[in-house]
Subunit: 274 residues, 3 copies
Amino acid sequence: MLTRIFQSLREHSPLVHCITNYVTVNDCANMLLACGASPVMADDMREVEDIQSIASALVINIGTLNPMTVPAMFKAVKKANDMMHPVVFDPVGAGASNLRTETALQLLNESYFSVIRGNISEIKALALGSGDTQGVDANQSDKVTADNLEATIAFAKNFASRTDAVIAITGAIDIVADAHRAFCIYNGDAAMSRITGTGCQLSALIAAFLAANPEEDFLEVTLAAVCAMGLCGEIAKARLSEQDGNATYRHYIIDAMYHLQAETLEKGAKYEVR
Amino acid sequence: MLTRIFQSLREHSPLVHCITNYVTVNDCANMLLACGASPVMADDMREVEDIQSIASALVINIGTLNPMTVPAMFKAVKKANDMMHPVVFDPVGAGASNLRTETALQLLNESYFSVIRGNISEIKALALGSGDTQGVDANQSDKVTADNLEATIAFAKNFASRTDAVIAITGAIDIVADAHRAFCIYNGDAAMSRITGTGCQLSALIAAFLAANPEEDFLEVTLAAVCAMGLCGEIAKARLSEQDGNATYRHYIIDAMYHLQAETLEKGAKYEVR
Amino acid sequence: MLTRIFQSLREHSPLVHCITNYVTVNDCANMLLACGASPVMADDMREVEDIQSIASALVINIGTLNPMTVPAMFKAVKKANDMMHPVVFDPVGAGASNLRTETALQLLNESYFSVIRGNISEIKALALGSGDTQGVDANQSDKVTADNLEATIAFAKNFASRTDAVIAITGAIDIVADAHRAFCIYNGDAAMSRITGTGCQLSALIAAFLAANPEEDFLEVTLAAVCAMGLCGEIAKARLSEQDGNATYRHYIIDAMYHLQAETLEKGAKYEVR
């Protein structure tokens, strides 16, 4: 399954339209190129519909909002929904400010998202309508552990059912769920959280995977993307010398995606169905 | 010729004012520093004239537009034109949205550009007034090949004549033309297209080359910059290990520019006059 | 002293809110993560108070201004001042345009800054109310040398006294001063000025150091951050191969911060009291 999904991505080179934050936008673009997709970043109200109409997927990432991009996000999602394009929503920092929480909730209310990906605090903020996200990082008390895994899976399935989206909660253990089924993913490395934007890159990556696999089950497609990102984190980690830190690690993850083969993904993916 | 042009750049350290997209702006800044120039990014209406007045060249890159930067671009170009500073225009994504095409055409109409650099689809969109650019990448059907090279050169010369600018069409084969003469450049590597922003960096680089060589023939100065960028792509490629991908490649290209010597450029440049 | 300050940073992982330019924002985020802090970038008027209220420090960097972020800066500083959070001010390009100089002066007038960090031309522009900063780089004629060191120290102490802030003037020799005491710091490497954003990263770093050390003397905390940045520049320099240039150097500096130990900082710091 992962092989087929990943090969389709490499073959189709989908154009992915991102409305994303200015902190990690360059990494998102290079990650999209690394996986075989083509990025286009456009957030001006006057062009988001044109751009979305030539693209195959949309990413909405609220990592840095401003009064100009917020209405552009609504317009772009509407266009993508009208065209039946997959849309990935990354509610960066939802729960950390009213603006982010409210914007995220309103987007959720007015739009259809194929996948919603965030850390546990962000997803809780969306589900509960408020939160205490620690900036753009999950709150320590929210962290997914062996102890609360069962409950978190149930929460993810429930939120998937309410939103009709695949829910991807990423952290030490990643959870990908729809209303009926969940995957727990054990790929990745803790040091990835010391790099800015690995979450943003994953959201962009999911959009590329979806765009190239419109006929597949989006739960499985999201699983493939999450495994691929985590696996690249592992491959990159193995290359690091003693002096390499988070900057070099960042590039090696993108490099790993550039060279990733379908069979490596199939063999290296560590997940279980729940 | 290339030696003289390149040494002048290293000696003069020109200040280059960029109004550019937020995706690749950091790479443009580091590439400018690598070549010996000094970057200043400023796109607020209220300061673009001040900043342009202390700079030696201007780059206008429409990779990400917004309602605030578009008028700032017009104001900055006007100031640069008044001061007889060289201006490089990079119509990123012209042909992919009405906003980009219209903005580019209006800029072209009201301003004088020293050099216009883009991929073949972007330049065609400017010349024809509309297009079907695939996001920020050239459309496959537009690609410059041995078969259509002659016609593309004629097109570039014609557009150069109409705009009174040097036209640089970059791709597998790069074409640099004024109304009377064209160069075909064979430096570079296909993998450069898998890095976001190599085109943006080249546009910034051309501006630095022009700023340091105001008395030279701008066709030859542009040729020097295009050869230098392609050659750095080759030098960087030769350093890549089996595991290095587009992220590491990106940095090695900037590193190569940092160390490039005039004689290396002179020897390594692969071009012909047409 | 440096050991204690640095260990406190590693232990506390403070959340640092940055309103900064879009050129080097990604480097600032990764540098904050490298030192053990957590970055949050937010510049929308409607959320800067919320974000500042959960953060432990604020960075105001005017490297790229626009009509939306300027009022957000004033609002964020006011909130930080009300909450007694440390605020670092980086007046990038003050003296290069009226907008930058005026915005910086107005911020200075209406707010309390814990630390003001800039190159000599920027700090002079603030102190004199006008300047001729060469873009974002210091003017050659302003450079701090052995000849004008004494006078520059006196100037820094005087400006510290007027503003009640610690003044950090960075360049070949770094000067950190309050009204009564100054440190001259001899760490770092000239090649750091060929990387965009080392100054911005240092400003973010100072904010992280302050946030983790609210009870310490901010002059000494700033000294620790400036020494740490310079030392990482030296450690990274030693790793560079003959082909590595400013791009690789940039990442190695962040990598060096990721691995920096308190004892290495204590031993490697090169400074004198003046």
